[in-house]
């Protein structure tokens, strides 16, 4: 599937290349008429000569590395390079977008790696890891954005970053210089998504005390019931499917076993500082327990028998085909993964739960304050354009009360739920409290306690309407109504309830930068970890002996050295 996807991307890039000239010429014609209007508009609103949203008098072009996702909602004829957002950008700021490369998932990271190794990077691109960022900085490939940020960032954007108490900007500051635009990352809780229409059909009673939590044995029971009764009438039913990497760095890792591991007190792929002593979560006994749990499910047939070779796309296909009705991911997966299920089956609904540990608490870990970085090529002449784009898409678009009248096309994109990756920067920049703030707006808006216009962001306004549409006609509404309802009224509501009822037990990990030994040994240690874990989970090796051997090897092959280097960093 991965390869199919790759070839599809290749073909679509070819198709893009073919359509590009036509689109761009059309674009410039249509924009010339309205550019004067927007210029007046932005100049009157911003008194400064060169303010946060001042357009360029001469058109400038930015080449981008674009991270794409499956995007069924994009209107016909629109592309990543030419869509409502890029046209808006052209109108308001007189900036043209050209994609140097487009790729999704792992392929994007590969493209970034290749760009880094060839030294030929686009004017701007997203990098996902701190190490990539550090390498770019050390190789002197990216521009210092300190002045651009101080001069051009709008007050609201500055407020957003300040809400993280310097953790977000601090993460991208090297030697006192801001070297990237960080994507912010709010805390989330890993959730289990269960086909509630199936549960209803089978008359199952889940979470009878209504506290939003289920135990691991309840989870097992649900998956077993789904497998035996096969409510989806599918062939080759699978109880639970996981991605080949099993554990993920991010707390909510989609299709990973994180949620189960956390409930067992294990925090794989996490660095924890216990009074100056650093522990790597993957090497703890709790992680072994979690792997044993998966292994026992694998043995009894409850876990996908193709675990390890079933790719990400294959798992999505299992969900879409109704072969499985239990999956793992954070609050927003209805927006971009589970929506595919609803597209195929209009009766499909999901309920989300957290998994509680033996003490009835839900273990979760804080996120890193940043999730990905947008960097500007040092050779690019207009680094401040990056800040202006941020102002436009994360301040103006979120806060403008008149977007719908001024730029109906952009508003329509939001209403239709076209994926946000079509914006030039595929990152999110939100206040640290934004998740629950937005939820409270939406909740009040749906109940009619506030009018939609009182909601803090445009997105919330749209979501209120989506949720209303869904509630009015759950079976017949648009897929976007369905997914916004699920992500907010199921996904975030769960976090809200758990927070309110004090069910969450937060662990604060540390996020060390790459140490000297990590540079040379980490790739091997990571490979060893993933190989061992998948072998234990699939029963290819005995859990106890293989895990203990892994811990021993891990320590001797540089793990111990890395831990002492991280402890050094903390001092």
């Amino acid at each position: 599937m991965k390869n199919l996807k790759r070839s599809l991307i290749f073909m679509s890039v070819l198709a893009l290349a073919a359509t590009m000239p036509a689109c761009s010429s059309k674009n410039s014609e249509s924009s010339s008429g309205s550019s004067s209007a927007s210029e007046n508009n932005s100049q009157s609103s911003k008194a400064q000569a060169d303010g946060p949203l001042t357009p360029y008098s001469d058109e400038i072009t930015i080449t981008l590395g674009r991270q794409t996702v499956q995007n069924p909602k994009i209107p016909d004829g629109d592309t990543y390079e030419n869509n409502a957002y890029t046209r808006w950008l052209k109108k308001v700021l007189n900036i043209n977008i050209k994609d140097e490369f487009e790729a999704s998932g792992d392929d994007y990271s590969t493209q970034v790696s290749l760009a880094l190794s060839s030294g030929e990077m686009p004017d701007m691109m997203k990098v996902s890891s701190k190490d990539d960022l550090r390498e770019l900085y050390e190789n002197d490939m990216i521009a210092d954005l300190t002045d651009a940020y101080n001069t051009y960032a709008s007050d609201y954007i500055k407020q957003i970053y300040d809400s993280y108490d310097g953790r977000a900007l601090g993460d991208v500051t090297f030697d006192g210089k801001i070297m990237a635009i960080p994507a912010t990352n709010v805390d989330t809780v890993g959730e289990v998504w269960i086909r509630s229409d199936w549960a209803q059909k089978l008359g199952m009673k889940i979470d009878e005390d209504k506290n939003g939590c289920i135990t691991i044995s309840e989870l097992e029971g649900i998956a077993k019931e789904f497998m035996q009764k096969n409510p989806g009438n599918a062939q080759n039913v699978v109880g639970m499917a996981f991605a080949p990497w099993l554990t993920a760095d991010e707390p909510d890792g989609t299709y990973s076993i994180n949620t189960i591991a956390y409930a067992l007190g294990a925090f794989p792929k996490t660095w924890i500082n216990e009074n100056g002593k650093v522990i790597y979560g993957s090497t703890t006994q709790e992680t072994k327990t979690a792997l044993k749990q998966i292994a026992s499910w694998f043995k009894s047939g409850l876990v996908d028998q193709q675990l390890g070779t079933r790719t990400w796309d294959d798992i999505t296909a299992l969900l879409v085909n109704g072969q499985t009705g239990v999956t793992f991911g954070c609050w927003h997966i209805p927006d971009w993964l589970l929506n595919n299920v609803r597209s195929m089956d209009s009766k499909a609904t999901f309920e989300s739960y957290a998994i509680e540990d033996a003490n009835g608490k839900v273990n979760c870990k804080h996120n890193n304050a940043t999730a990905g970085y947008f960097v500007v090529n040092k050779k690019y002449a207009h680094p401040e354009a990056a800040i202006k784009i941020v102002n436009l898409f994360y301040d103006e678009m979120a806060n403008s009360k008149t977007l719908k009248q001024d730029y109906p096309e952009v508003a329509k994109y939001q209403e239709d739920g076209v994926d946000g990756s079509t914006r030039p920067f595929n990152i999110e920049i939100n206040k640290s409290t934004s998740l629950l703030d937005d939820y409270s707006d939406i909740e009040k808006g749906v109940k009619g306690e506030i009018s939609p216009d009182q909601a803090r962001t445009i997105e919330s306004r749209t979501v209120i309407q989506n949720v209303k549409n869904y509630l009015a006609n759950p079976d017949g509404c648009e897929v976007v109504d369905w997914s916004k309802y699920h992500s907010r009224m199921k996904g975030i509501e769960l976090i809200q309830n758990l927070t309110e009822n004090n069910k969450l037990n937060w662990v604060t990990p540390i996020f060390p930068t790459t140490t000297q030994t990590m540079k040379t040994n980490w790739a091997n240690l990571r490979t060893m970890e993933e190989e061992t874990f998948i072998k234990i989970a699939t029963g290819a090796e005995d859990a106890d002996t293989a895990f203990d051997q892994f811990v021993k090897d891990w320590n001797s092959m540089g793990g111990e050295q890395i831990i002492s280097e991280i402890e050094e960093q903390l001092k």
């Binding site: 599937m1 991965k2 390869n3 199919l4 790759r6 070839s7 990271s109 590969t110 790696s113 290749l114 880094l116 190794s117 060839s118 030294g119 390498e135 050390e138 190789n139 002197d140 490939m141 062939q235 080759n236 080949p244 990497w245 028998q305 193709q306 675990l307 390890g308 070779t309 540079k519 040379t520 980490w522 790739a523 091997n524 490979t527 993933e530 190989e531 998948i534 072998k535 699939t538 290819a540 090897d553 092959m557």
Partner: protein
């Protein structure tokens, strides 16, 4: 008179040399110029500092390579997979070409040829999807296995089956195309020899053994020696598109290992150190096989 003729010959050869020029140009551009990059193997290469600005570190990366715990496993896998491919692939191609040569019905012969050549022209990116669908737990192969009462096997996720799967699918993809050379070799054998053998009462087997195979021997030697140079590369695109962490133990080869550690992990210098070692081994093997060929069959390749 004689002299002018000689001059003429020399003159007429110049055009042939000119014809070789573009080829030589590309050979130098794409095979010799990149060799400058070998320097990287002895440096801590940093892209922005470039080839001339990076620090020299001597044999650091080679020592690191030898010390890697996985290197033995990776080399073992590479050797098993590539030797398996060479042996089985050569055998299949020779057998196929001998059998195909027996077919007298032209239409049938052409059809068979087209069908077996076809997979060669498909990329592994595409074929891997086909192989995955054929061999996964719900695929036709496993359905057949289940129907005769044997438990299903996750071919792509099992360390026992992964290497045979790699070897057999690669042989399936390439044997048709590789047989072209052998077919050509068979046609050069004097039919008189076959007739003589037949008149002397040699059976079909005997004729294959004593006439066809000895006639093909120079080509077989050449092809085998040439394939030996690639013994340390087990086919990157095939393995990369089919493997997963679960089969690293038997499926991780030098190419995929270097790719993961070197390019994705961006340890350029280490990657080129491994590449250099591989080329050295390839060169040594080529020279050895050339020498062996001369000793054993009295025919040199170059």
């Amino acid at each position: 008179m004689l002299k002018t003729k000689k001059d003429l010959t020399r003159y007429s050869q110049i055009s042939y040399h000119l014809m070789m020029l573009p080829g030589m140009f590309f050979l130098i551009l794409f095979s010799y110029v990149p060799m400058v990059g070998i320097i990287m193997a002895f440096q801590d290469f940093v892209p922005s500092k470039g080839l001339w600005g990076s620090n020299f570190v001597g044999l650091k990366h080679f020592i690191y390579m030898v010390q890697l715990p996985d290197i033995v496993k990776v080399i073992r896998n590479t050797l098993i997979i590539s030797i398996g491919k060479i042996l089985l692939g050569t055998f299949m191609a020779i057998a196929f070409s001998i059998l195909l040569n027996e077919i007298r019905l032209k239409f049938f012969k052409k059809t068979v040829q087209t069908i077996v050549y076809l997979p060669h022209f498909l990329s592994w990116v595409v074929l891997a999807a086909v192989v995955m669908n054929m061999f996964n737990l719900d695929g036709p192969i496993n359905q057949f296995i289940a129907s005769i009462g044997i438990p299903k096997i996750n071919f792509l996720g099992n360390n026992k089956t992964f290497q045979p799967l790699l070897i057999s699918t690669d042989v399936w993809k390439e044997f048709g195309y590789n047989s072209i050379v052998y077919l050509a070799a068979i046609t050069t054998i004097d039919p008189g020899l076959h007739e003589a053998a037949a008149i002397d009462g040699a059976s079909w087997w005997k004729r294959v053994w004593h006439v066809t195979l000895p006639g093909m021997l120079p080509i077989i030697t050449l092809m085998a020696a040439m394939s030996l140079t690639g013994i340390l590369s087990a086919g990157f695109d095939q393995v990369y598109n089919l493997y997963s962490p679960i089969v690293y133990e038997t499926g991780d080869t030098l190419d995929t290992y270097v790719y993961r550690i070197g390019l994705v992990g961006r340890q350029y210098s280490f990657g080129s150190a491994v590449g250099l070692c591989r080329s050295l081994v390839g060169t040594i093997l080529l020279l050895t096989s050339n020498w062996l060929a001369k000793e054993l069959t009295d025919r040199k390749i170059f």
